[in-house]
Symmetry: none
Subunit: 229 residues, 2 copies
């Protein structure tokens, strides 16, 4: 199931796009504000972005440019003005396609489909899509072992990182403390599952806004922990 983010301030158009894309089986999220849209694009895990050029505050060009700093996700730019097309090209923003209003919904779907297919084709063996996990402002980048929490890096120790990665790789699954201990410390490690508690605590200290009211890692009483999504 592919998920698409639409950044578009005209609600009527946005909803039209959404309805069409959803009817073709895509999961769609709407966002009317450019700044929030950019934030979402950077923090969440989408497969494609439909981006309106004309937005209040921060325009589509800038959003595109910023997304491209860290991601190769397909970006489809939507514009009412033909002149914008030259601009998109000229600036070398790295947009993957552009489509001018008014457009037929089936045109949109066709392009979305094509770009998703190509992206998959080209990134298949690189497994680029799996190299980071993005959930609600938390980004785990595996190659660099870095964790960003709302754009800011959290400096995790090795055990903390492994713990977080294991939990976040299986969202909502409850892990018993014993299992966490075994999978990270090793079966033959003679330690104690109580250690896990302390590391969870330290991890929360670093990634949770309020460690006593965790937003990411839930305690399941009498059992263990879970990464909530």
């Amino acid at each position: 199931m592919k998920s698409i983010l639409i950044i578009e301030d005209e609600k009527a158009i946005a909803e039209l796009e959404r309805d069409y894309l959803e009817s073709y089986g895509y999961t769609v999220e709407l966002e009317g504000r450019g700044d929030i849209g950019l934030k979402k694009a950077l923090e969440e895990q989408y497969d494609l972005i439909v981006l309106d050029v004309m937005l209040p505050k921060i325009d589509g060009f800038e959003i595109c440019r910023q997304i491209r700093q860290t991601s190769n996700i397909p970006i489809l730019m939507v514009t009412a003005k033909k002149e914008d097309i030259d601009k998109i090209r000229g600036l070398g923003l790295g947009a993957d396609d552009y489509i001018t209003k008014p457009f037929s919904p089936s045109e949109l779907v066709a392009r979305v489909k094509a770009h998703l297919a190509r992206y998959e084709r080209l990134t298949a063996d690189k497994a680029e899509r799996d190299e980071s996990i993005r959930i609600r402002g938390l980004v785990i980048d595996k190659p660099s072992r870095r964790v960003m929490i709302h754009e800011k890096e959290a400096m995790l120790t090795s055990k903390e990182y492994e713990l977080l990665l294991l939990l976040a790789s299986h969202p909502n699954r409850v892990f018993e403390k014993e299992e966490l201990f075994e999978r990270i410390w090793g079966v033959d490690s003679n330690g104690d599952a109580a250690t896990v508690t302390v590391h969870i605590r330290r991890l929360r200290e670093k990634i949770e806004h309020d460690p006593s009211n965790p937003q990411y890692i839930d305690t399941i009483w009498g059992v263990g922990y879970r990464f909530k999504v």
Copy 2:
């Protein structure tokens, strides 16, 4: 220098396309016959293919399909009939773009350029292709194996250079010490990953302003090292 193959049987059009693309610095090869074009596409090393739909004997659809069996090279399909576009899409041939005759030459160039850029972006380990790597005042010039740090040359030994190059070619990626050792000293080398530590130290001595507070090479505790960007 990027090379482009044009498969097109109308000589006048083909030459027009060629002239334009060449004037933008691309190397262009023309091929009038579909079957030979397919053969070339499969056997030679092009960066992009401009493919006419209407060809005698074997048509563009079939050529596209066959190329896609073994290659992800960007394919731009050219057609005179609007109906063909739906067909290209519908068949899921994997063409990257289509352009209808008559088209302005600059339109062609713009699309070629965009697709080359995207392909590069998605497939590249960019650092591996380039002649030199430049990051924050550090320049690694591969052909000459020289390293400049803020305009001044750093005299690195062979091992130091290889270490730096490997790390800097994959910015931000964390390398385990064992992996560094294996990749530079060789798998069958009977040494110890501890020697990596010493070489990292010596490397830092030469490229870091304050080796105890490295700006380029981070230590990832319990894991290895990473070239930070």
